[in-house]
């Protein structure tokens, strides 16, 4: 297993820039999810790491070795395709053993390792079946088997659960994570499904238009989103944005929205006059009759354990996650209160979060990481 380091990676297809200046490091044994909508450059990034596309610029290091322009076959990586790409003219056993065959592993050794891998994935009973008749989950496991049998430097997975039905996906999410816990393989996992990413990954890189918007742990991404895009993409329902126009000085703790004062984490920077948005997670809202910020009930979705209540305010629709017990009538006026220290403030012009006590460190984190590394490299 090895660390993957991606430096200022860039990929252009003619005029279209698929990936611009991406840098991140997946540490040895870490599980990274590249998360974003289709066309955001996540698959292109993965394919460049795999060697299936050559970058337009930048560098890729695998376990300290520069592999930027090396052939895929020389990188010692494993790739799980979205459609699995199991060779249809081979049975399960030959599919799993195929990567070993290219390395000239002796037949007996191939047999032993294929069987060992099959046992690990609990597919040893279907080894001699053709792959064409397999169910989705078994196909998935065979594809995984083909990936892990070789003990490669890292695993790259391109939406491997995308074609499975929802119920089964949950099972596979658990299995994949358990497998990762057992073999500690450095993994890059591409998905557009935030739940998969949150459930499995140690780190998530949220991508949009070829740019990594945020690279952090799932908790950090959820609790301290670096941009409005991330805040909106992660969470279901997503973060609410209460838009208002103001200029705020460093140290400010109150935002004035629709004539009401709203407490928020202390700002760590000046904000020039302009359109701002206060970001509130649905679960950080409660109804309070005394709150000056008012709205009217617009609708409610009952979800069993809780309910999502939509409130129409002067700043737009706000969705709150509330206990399921009480029922609300549409049109009722309510007051909204927020958990003050969990709010994010965004500058609508740049879409970035304004540094505050809550966000302290988030924005600078990656650059600092890199500087530290460069410094160490210098001294070393």
């Amino acid at each position: 297993m090895a660390e993957i380091r991606v430096d200022h990676l860039r990929k252009a297809f003619g005029e279209f820039v698929a990936v611009q200046d991406s840098s991140f490091t997946v540490e040895d044994g870490e599980f990274l999810a590249l998360l974003g909508p289709s066309g955001c450059g996540k698959t292109t990034t993965l394919r460049m790491i795999a060697g299936l596309e050559l970058p337009t610029g930048g560098a890729i290091h695998l376990g300290g070795e520069d592999v930027t322009y090396k052939r895929a076959s020389e990188r010692d990586i494993a790739f799980v395709f979205q459609l699995f790409a199991l060779y249809p003219h081979m049975n399960v056993r030959r599919n799993i053993g195929f990567p070993l065959l290219s390395q000239g592993v002796p037949k007996a050794e191939i047999k032993r390792r294929v069987e060992e891998t099959a046992k690990l994935l609990q597919i040893d009973h279907i080894l001699d079946r053709p792959v064409s008749g397999l169910a989705g989950g078994d196909r998935q496991r065979v594809a995984l088997g083909r990936a892990i049998v070789r003990r490669p430097k890292c695993f790259l997975m391109d939406e491997p659960l995308g074609t499975l039905d929802a119920e089964f996906r949950d099972v596979m999410v658990r299995e994949l994570r358990e497998l990762h816990n057992r073999i500690h393989a450095t993994t890059v996992y591409v998905t557009h499904d935030q739940i998969e990413a949150m459930a499995m990954a140690d780190k998530i890189a949220v991508m949009n238009h070829g740019i990594i918007e945020q690279f952090a742990t799932p908790r950090e991404i959820y609790n301290r989103p670096a941009s409005m895009y991330v805040a909106d993409f992660i969470g279901s329902p997503p973060m609410n944005f209460l838009r208002f126009t103001a200029g705020l000085p460093k140290g400010a703790r109150i935002a004035r929205i629709d004539g009401a004062d709203v407490q928020m984490p202390e700002l760590r920077a000046d904000v020039a006059e302009g359109e701002l948005a206060l970001g509130v997670r649905p679960e950080h809202i409660r109804f309070s009759d005394t709150s000056p910020l008012r709205g009217a009930i617009y609708g409610a979705e009952y979800l069993g354990t809780n309910q999502i209540v939509t409130v129409e305010t002067a700043g737009g629709l706000v969705r709150a996650r509330l206990p399921a017990e009480r029922s609300y009538r549409i049109g009722d006026r309510v007051g909204l209160a927020f958990v003050a220290d969990r709010l994010s403030l965004f500058d609508c012009r740049s879409g970035r979060a304004v540094p505050s006590v809550l966000h302290e460190g988030v924005l600078a984190r990656d650059t600092r990481h890199r500087e530290m590394r460069d410094l160490e490299a210098h001294h070393g």
Partner: protein, 322 residues
């Protein structure tokens, strides 16, 4: 009768599955069509086992005494002898010997049919192999790589089929004479390959386009070079397309008459120009011609039956969900 029919007929047949009645009508139509198309073939076969007088009798004979004379005449050359000479010969050594003697003739030696037939086999299968090999590689290239001017090149390749090949017969005849390719098996193979390769490229490109790239990418990540991935992963999945293409190429090369009669006359002559030249006494030896045609049909029949499985099996894309 009504009891056995009533219940299922009214109730269930699915929308997709045709009803038993539709199936019966379809089956009858297929059989009728097969019978119509088989008539000439059956007639050729019947002619091949008629005696020469029966073969040209009018009205044509449906009932006749079968004879091997046509096959005997196809494979042999004969000379006429006096009845006394024949009577003095030792007893006939085989069926053909006996049949020939009844016509007051003796077998003088083998005919040219076998060597011509062998020429046909070599040239047709050789050119098919060449056309399909080249076509597969070219089609793979066009399908997977960014080839500059790919569309123009493909159109250019197709354009070689936009005129009847015989339109260039004279230039090719002169060219072949200069190159010393006239009446050689190599020359005919190259010619048929040149005609067939365009068809092969276009047909196979369609088939290879259908094979997802992920298979090769998976193989390359599994440590194989592109060429290894091509042979181990792409080719096995393209067998259906290759089989279909091979049959088309083979049928063309096997049946080709115009170039063969123009460019070959001796050692490289193929069966098609040879068969009609089988002359009997007092005119065309129709049973021998029919016998030659019958035998000529066999290889293509066998080839098609052998590859029928490949043609029908369909590509198992099952492992990749679409």
């Amino acid at each position: 009768m009504s009891t056995s029919k009533a219940a299922p007929a009214v109730s269930a047949h699915s929308v997709v599955e045709p009803s038993p009645r539709t199936k019966r009508i379809a089956g009858a139509l297929v059989i009728l069509y097969a019978l119509i198309t088989l008539v000439p073939l059956v007639w050729i076969f019947l002619t091949s086992i008629k005696s020469p007088p029966d073969s040209i009798s009018y009205p044509p004979k449906i009932l006749f005494t079968p004879s091997l004379e046509g096959y005997c005449n196809l494979f042999t050359t004969r000379t006429r002898q006096t009845p006394d000479y024949i009577a003095a010969l030792p007893p006939p050594s085989g069926v053909c010997d006996a049949v020939t003697r009844e016509r007051n003739m003796v077998i003088a030696g083998p005919s040219n049919f076998l060597p011509r037939f062998a020429n046909s086999l070599i040239i047709a299968f050789g050119s098919t192999f060449l056309a399909v090999s080249l076509g597969t590689l070219a089609a793979y290239g066009f399908s997977r790589f960014k080839v500059p001017l790919a569309d123009d090149l493909l159109f250019f390749i197709l354009s070689t089929r936009m005129m009847p090949p015989i339109a260039v017969a004279i230039p090719i005849y002169l060219m072949y004479r200069q190159l010393g390719l006239s009446d050689t098996a190599l020359g005919m193979m190259l010619l048929y390959t040149a005609v067939n390769v365009s068809l092969a490229v276009w047909l196979l490109k369609g088939f290879i386009d259908e094979i997802p790239r992920e298979y090769e990418e998976a193989a390359m990540i599994d440590g194989y070079t592109r060429l290894q991935a091509f042979f181990k992963v792409v080719l096995p999945q393209a067998t259906t397309g290759i089989a279909a293409t091979a049959i088309f190429c083979l049928i063309f090369a096997w049946n080709e008459y115009a170039f063969a009669s123009l460019l070959t006359s001796g050692s490289a002559q193929t069966a098609p120009p040879f068969i009609p030249t089988i002359i009997g006494e007092g005119g065309q030896d129709w049973p021998a011609v029919a016998a030659g045609t019958t035998i000529f049909l066999v290889p293509i029949l066998v080839f098609t039956i052998l590859l029928r499985k490949q043609l029908l099996r369909g590509i198992t894309f099952g492992a990749v969900r679409k």
